[in-house]
């Protein structure tokens, strides 16, 4: 099945931007696009072929240039402004690109598969609310808290989830997100312990804060560094450090304010 440069550009930019958005590693994005292009006879780098493709991706943007041997190459740039982790869709997109490499289907089939992936269900709000509470409560126990600490950590995690839904509507930066989250956690935990409901607030704060830990950014960053994508690695490393600093700043300022009162 032959496809034109324009169609290839449209498919690869769609798949690539979705992969970045749902939290795939950057080297996986570039690799998938090169493989899809190679299935239709477009090769990257200095292969010496007429039909060429070049991809450059970082977590904030994706640039693809396709040349089908004519004089004018085609370029598309996609800016990725918001990202949400959805490893299920990354898995399905990965399967799709493997399928494209083997079967070489036409564009209509590929677009149908992509729309199917976009419609895959994500966990609804109640399930995610419970998962936040479970994470908070079990980590409060894990770090040596009492069952009472776990109860409050679970409740506070639920509040953080509710707050984060509202805060995410204005699309804040990762730093701001983690500051808000940890201010909420620390101030409620301090109020609860000052009211005499629990002994100390430290296990509550640790447990509930685990919901904000940048786990996926750190793993992606390490895997990008190994693959040689240093720019993408630095980007995600900065993001992970900023999130951790934001958590510390938020909790520290909340505790300092309550200590003064």
């Amino acid at each position: 099945m032959e496809i034109t440069a324009k169609e290839l550009l449209q498919i690869t930019s769609r798949i690539g931007s979705m992969l970045i958005e749902y939290g795939a590693e950057i080297y996986r994005v570039e690799d998938s696009i090169y493989r899809i292009a190679a299935a239709y006879g477009f090769y990257g780098g200095t292969s010496g072929k007429d039909k060429k493709i070049e991809v450059f991706a970082i977590p904030a943007s994706l640039i693809i240039t396709v040349n089908d041997g004519s004089e004018v190459p085609l370029t598309q740039t996609v800016r990725i402004s918001s990202r949400e982790t959805n490893l299920d869709r990354v898995d399905k997109l990965n399967n799709l690109s493997r399928f494209i490499c083997v079967e070489k289907p036409d564009t209509a089939t590929i677009n149908k598969h992509i729309s199917e992936i976009c419609e895959r269900k994500i966990y609804n709000y109640p399930v995610r609310l419970i998962s936040y509470a479970v994470v908070g409560a079990t980590f409060a126990l894990f770090f040596g808290g009492t069952p009472f600490d776990a109860l409050f950590a679970g409740l506070i995690s639920m509040i953080v989830f509710a707050v984060s839904i509202f805060v995410n509507k204005v699309k804040p930066s990762v730093f701001f997100q983690s500051v808000i989250g940890s201010v909420v956690i620390a101030s409620i935990a301090v109020i609860v312990s000052k009211a005499g409901l629990t002994g100390s607030f430290d296990k509550i704060i640790i447990g509930a804060s685990m919901n904000l830990v940048p786990g996926i950014t750190l793993t992606n960053c390490m895997r990008d560094f190994i693959a040689g994508d240093f720019l993408a690695g630095m980007y995600t490393l900065t993001e992970a450090i900023l999130t951790a600093v934001g958590m510390a700043v938020g909790a520290a300022s909340a505790i300092a304010v309550f200590n003064m009162i």
Partner: protein, 150 residues
């Protein structure tokens, strides 16, 4: 030592917590249990190293390396991205206690214990990263070698 309190309970906690984390990352249910077991194994290996009296950083390094090996093997077996198991698996290693202590010593203005706690949390995070780094680098090397030989 109390086996129930020091070994079994943390393992159960990390199993439950990592399954809940799986929901946040939108992992399907059938992968979630395997990922949770990975996190439980990590905790078990970590406790084992800790009992044997090794240095703290070494404990974190080898536990992170172990979970990376588990994630690579599982991902090959069921054909999913390695991330899916790796991200959930390292959750029990996150040094929440040290990070909290760093912050609280900063608030109280105790510079000496702040620098101690800060060094510990940065060191632990670094060891976990290096553990993942080492295993992924070896796997990548193996893949390049096997691909060329074919």
């Amino acid at each position: 030592m109390d086996i129930m309190k020091d070994m079994a309970l943390p393992c159960i906690y990390s199993l439950i917590a990592s399954i809940a984390f799986g929901v946040q990352f939108n992992i399907r249910f059938r992968h979630m249990l395997a990922a949770g077991i990975g996190a439980m194994l990590t905790q078990l290996i970590f406790t084992g190293f800790e009992i044997s009296g090794m240095g703290q950083m070494i404990c974190y390094f080898f536990s992170a390396a172990a979970v990376s090996v588990y994630a690579e093997l599982m991902a090959r077996r069921v054909h999913v991205p390695v991330n899916m198991y790796l991200v959930v698996g390292i959750i029990p290693l996150v040094p929440g206690g040290y990070m909290y202590n760093t912050m609280i010593t900063l608030v109280s203005g105790d510079v000496e214990s702040f620098s101690h706690q800060f060094a510990a949390s940065v060191g632990i995070a670094g060891s976990i990263a290096m553990g993942i780094f080492a295993v992924s680098a070896i796997v990548r090397l193996l893949r390049i070698i096997t691909r060329q030989s074919i």
